[in-house]
């Protein structure tokens, strides 16, 4: 029973019976304040306020809960704009606590050279009929493989090789490393060499005389982005020029400025700021550009000297977003000129560019991603409409986490994988599905009469690691002191099986992140 005043905890001066009625019918608020409150409080209310009316003070006698909030004590200086994001996106490539792994091979010219030797050997032996040629590439030794297999760089399969310092710098510049990958656990960045990586490297080496158009696909966590990174590392070692779009969604999600490109039909849209940053990344990642001089004449909106290096050209483009796109085109024309090194064009997150972008055209319709000039450029080479003149490769990795679905892309990739396997029944289009997109099919080199002569792209479908590769990886972890367990057949088999038959991200999660 509330026998005390709620505010001042003083006993009431009214007879208890009255108070009981009042409080029980919840009419205490409408009572005259001087009657219900103690004398002390009444006098307090009548006292004239010296500081003028306060903001919180309402009508006399009205009950409000007044709690003065203390401002939180200010400690240190607040973070600068962008500082916290930079911290979130920071990529740490070294852990000084981890142990140095002795006897690690490096991904250098020697190793890549061995893979190159492997191609020649395979060709020769295929002529002799010892080895089975797979697809267009003689590389995979099947049954009947002779000794000397290990000589061709296949002995390194299942081992972790270190990346050279120069390669690491370049890879960092093209933003090939991602925050979700566990680079920060180890002393120095290393890459697991799996069967597919050797295969891809050999395809790349062969592409120096031709063109490779390849899509890397696979379930979530099977190492698509890392295989792309491996391809880039190989390309850097081989002295290629690498142009990488690290996150396709950054290009299409309308977070950068855009402008229509005059005299194009259908209208293309350039992205000045993004192109400028891309040029600066290219410049940073490919130090060989500094030694190359301009050989062609270009009509650019800004005057340039006739004998500047390509690096300087990129710098000019990176400095001024307004001229970034023309300079990118000029730069590309230089790369396609005779006597230039091969080029690797790569993109991660393919499904983001296989749909409409978030940009709006002047008539407020959505701009298809292929109408963005940069993506248009990439897709022209992926579809085979245009050729890389000095050889090279166009690689795209699908993404399976936080990626939009593109029905057409899913279907085409599925069909291509089935074709590669030589299955009799190829999946057909769902007749009731409306969201198929002809342009996507064209971009992947299939589809209607619009498809290019070059034929469909190759698809590399990644699966889980083999047990041997899983073991090599886990041994590397154990040698680095990160996995504190005996790596034996049983342990490997357990982790391998629990990770959905060797899905590498799941092995890592099970071994390093969950059960430490």
């Amino acid at each position: 029973m509330a026998t005390n005043c709620i505010r001042c905890l003083a006993r009431p001066s009214l007879p208890p019976s009255f108070l009981v009625n009042a409080s029980s019918s919840l009419r205490i608020q409408s009572l005259p304040s001087t009657a219900s409150m103690g004398k002390r409080y009444a006098s307090k209310l009548n006292r004239p306020t010296t500081n003028g009316p306060r903001k919180n003070e309402k009508v006399k006698g009205q009950k409000t809960l007044r709690i003065k909030k203390k401002p939180p004590p200010k400690t240190g200086k607040p973070p600068q704009p962008g500082e916290r994001k930079a911290m979130r996106k920071r990529i740490v490539l070294s852990n000084t606590n981890a142990l140095e792994v002795p006897g690690m091979r490096e991904l250098d010219k020697g190793l890549v050279g061995e893979w190159e030797m492997g191609i020649r050997d395979a060709r020769r032996q295929a002529e002799e009929g010892h080895w089975v040629l797979e697809g267009a590439l003689g590389m995979v030794a099947k049954e009947g493989a002779k000794e000397g297999e290990a000589k061709n760089g296949e002995g390194v399969i299942g081992q972790v090789v270190a990346l050279q310092g120069q390669t690491v710098d370049s890879l960092r510049a093209v933003e090939a490393f991602k925050t979700t990958q566990g680079w920060g656990f180890f002393r120095r960045p290393g890459l697991l060499i799996r069967e597919e990586s050797v295969m891809l490297s050999r395809k790349l080496i062969q592409a120096e005389q031709g063109n490779l158009r390849l899509v890397i696909d696979g379930e979530r966590g099977t190492g698509k982005s890392l295989l792309l990174l491996h391809a880039m590392a190989t390309a850097f070692v081989r002295g290629w020029i690498v142009i990488n779009i690290p996150e396709a969604q950054e290009v299409t999600n309308a977070m950068n400025d855009y402008a229509p490109l005059p005299n194009t039909n259908p209208t293309l849209f350039t992205q000045p700021t993004y192109t400028a940053t891309l040029l600066s990344r290219i410049n940073k990642a490919n130090p060989i550009l500094a030694d190359m001089e301009i050989s062609l004449t270009h009509s650019l909106p800004i005057p340039i000297q006739s004998n500047i290096s390509l690096s300087r050209l990129c710098e000019l483009g990176a400095r001024d977003p307004d001229v970034a796109w023309p300079i990118f085109q000029a730069f590309w024309a230089e790369l396609m000129a005779e006597g230039m090194p091969p080029v690797l064009l790569s993109l991660d997150g393919l499904s983001n560019i296989m749909r409409e972008s978030m940009y709006l055209a002047p008539d407020t319709s959505k701009v298809h991603a292929h109408d963005l000039a940069l993506i248009d450029h990439f897709v022209n080479y992926l579809s085979g409409k245009r050729r890389l003149e000095n050889g090279g490769a166009v690689l795209a990795a699908a993404s399976r986490s936080h990626a939009p679905t593109s029905k057409s892309m899913e279907l085409v990739l599925k069909q291509l994988v089935e074709l590669q396997k030589g299955e009799e029944e190829i999946t057909e289009k769902d007749p009731f599905e409306k969201s198929y997109d002809d342009r996507v099919e064209w971009a992947l080199g299939v589809g209607s009469e619009k498809a290019t002569k070059a034929g469909p792209v190759e698809v590399l479908k990644l699966k889980g690691l083999s047990k041997k590769e899983a073991r090599g990886l886990m041994e590397y972890w154990a040698k680095s002191g990160v996995l504190r367990k005996k790596v034996d057949e049983k342990e490997v088999a357990e982790k391998w099986a629990l990770a959905g038959n060797g899905v590498v991200a799941e092995i890592e999660r099970g071994a390093l992140r969950m059960r430490i």
């Binding site: 309308a254 400025d257 229509p260 055209a361």
Partner: protein
């Protein structure tokens, strides 16, 4: 500070939000204007070149917004009132115009419905 159609805006404000401060421009019109001049939705007023700002101002000046729109609306109400229609009467009485019940919840009508309507 950036000057658009007689108003000053801080440079770090989103252009979209600046446009939506004008009476008669909502999400739809701001999106349309941005798309017309190929400006991405995250653009801030300070980033835009003066040329684009002038173009936007020109675009806005062709639209019926602010005072013009208000006057137009008042004229419409005045017309209803002048012809002595039920709707005009309801406007004058500050009551709902379109047949709503009036037992409760007519705050919006009370606030807005006047002959000299403001908002």
């Amino acid at each position: 500070m950036v000057f658009i159609l007689g108003n000053n805006f801080l440079e770090n404000r989103l252009l979209r939000h600046c446009l939506e401060t004008f009476y008669g421009i909502g999400t739809k019109h701001s999106t349309r204007i941005l798309a017309k001049f190929s400006i991405y939705p995250g653009a801030r007023v300070g980033q835009l070149p003066t040329k684009t700002i002038n173009e936007i101002t020109a675009e806005l000046s062709t639209m019926t917004i602010e005072t013009d729109l208000r006057r137009k609306m008042r004229d419409n109400i005045q017309r209803l009132r002048d012809m002595g229609s039920y709707r005009g009467r309801r406007h004058a009485m500050g009551l709902p115009v379109r047949g709503q019940r009036t037992r409760s919840q007519i705050l919006t009508a009370r606030k807005l419905n006047k002959i000299e309507r403001h908002g």
